[in-house]
């Protein structure tokens, strides 16, 4: 790949085009492989598709662009603090809507930092909640029969279903 290229264009699974800088793309292993394998120069008109929908890809790229400078150069503690605050703001998103897509995308794109961050966010939503509250948050259907429930209740005397 020529070193003059600073940003690449990728397609989302909905077919929208997105630009991502080369340094930001390096945060993802599969994207990095794409950079090496596919030609991104002007005479090549093939635009790679990323199996992530547009809404999610916008967020993923936003994350990459923000984290790229630190990932590529290593930075001071104060930068790390600032980045942590940014991460918290970044994750204040609609739970039922996009968090799952971010989880899947981070998994698929092998982005360790975002993967941890998204999993932590999901776990924080469960923390301190009862089983029925967690069910409500994530719309999980209780598919145990009443006999099974009775049996589980005996096995987990400390835990409550409600």
């Amino acid at each position: 790949m020529s070193s003059s290229v600073e940003a690449i264009t990728v397609l989302s699974s909905d077919g929208d085009e997105f630009k991502i800088t080369v340094s930001a793309a390096k945060l993802s292993k599969p994207l990095n492989w794409m950079l090496e394998d596919v030609c991104f120069s002007d005479d090549c008109d093939e635009v790679p598709t990323i199996e992530v929908n547009s809404k999610t890809l916008v967020k993923v790229i936003e994350y990459c662009e923000k984290h790229a400078p630190r990932a590529n150069s290593g930075a001071s503690d104060s930068d790390a603090e600032e980045l942590k605050k940014w991460d918290i703001e970044f994750m204040k998103m609609d739970v039922k809507d996009i968090l799952f897509h971010i989880l899947m995308a981070a998994n698929y794109l092998h982005m360790e930092g975002l993967y941890d961050l998204a999993c932590q966010t999901a776990a924080d939503l469960m923390k301190g909640m009862t089983v029925s509250q967690i069910r409500k948050i994530f719309h999980i259907k209780n598919d145990f029969s009443s006999e099974e429930q009775e049996q589980l209740r005996r096995q987990h005397p400390g835990c409550s279903f409600d």
Partner: protein, 253 residues
Amino acid sequence: MEKSESANKMPRTEAEMRDRISDLPDSLLLHILSFLPAKEAVATSLLSKRWRPLWFSLPTLELHREDFQKFTFFYQFVDKMLNLVDLKAVKKFVFDCEHYRFGEYFRHRKISEWINAVIINKVEHLELHLYRKNNEYELPSNIFTAKNIKVLKLSGVIVGRTLSHVNLSLLQVLHLKFVRFPDFRSLGILLSGCVSLRDLVLSYVFLDGYPRLYDRHLLDIGGLHNLVTVDVPEFLLPLKVFSNATFLRFRRV
């Protein structure tokens, strides 16, 4: 990407009502559960059939006394948990009993049994936090030869006089707080066995009796070339062993 504005409310609500989290692969759900204390992670097995078997393969077991009303519940929970889960899956084990109340204490043999169980199954991150004023716990010697450990954080424990062999060749992070050593020699033996160490914190590390400062040279060991951050008490100054570190902080105790 987005559907047209006019059709916004209804389809969105329907989409929101879907149970998406249960569609995620096991590995992802387990990673989410690894950010929860063990008690809450186990409780998710009551959510639905999908979640039922996950806790057997938890990669992280975080056991906190504070999460339990009664000490006996905590004790039984830990014991049962370690008997039931797939210990080979456990990469991180945190046992935190820093805040137990008067009259509550573990049989030391039991703690050693638990630690042994995770060590032989190649745990990589081990934390043990005990209440220092209550019946001090002497670390079992196999903790010092647990070759798979990368992170070791200990508080409220003592290192025995018999420490002679340390092989923690993968250890990168060592944090000791309220840890008592018999002498400089044993502290030196421990550090010299941690050749990959990158991050060292010693806070409130005590030496028995009246440690003679000129014995400090026993600590001046070679081989700690990877140290990046070091945070140690002032009495360990000046030691060459820390000279390579990028970030160095001395505590006045």
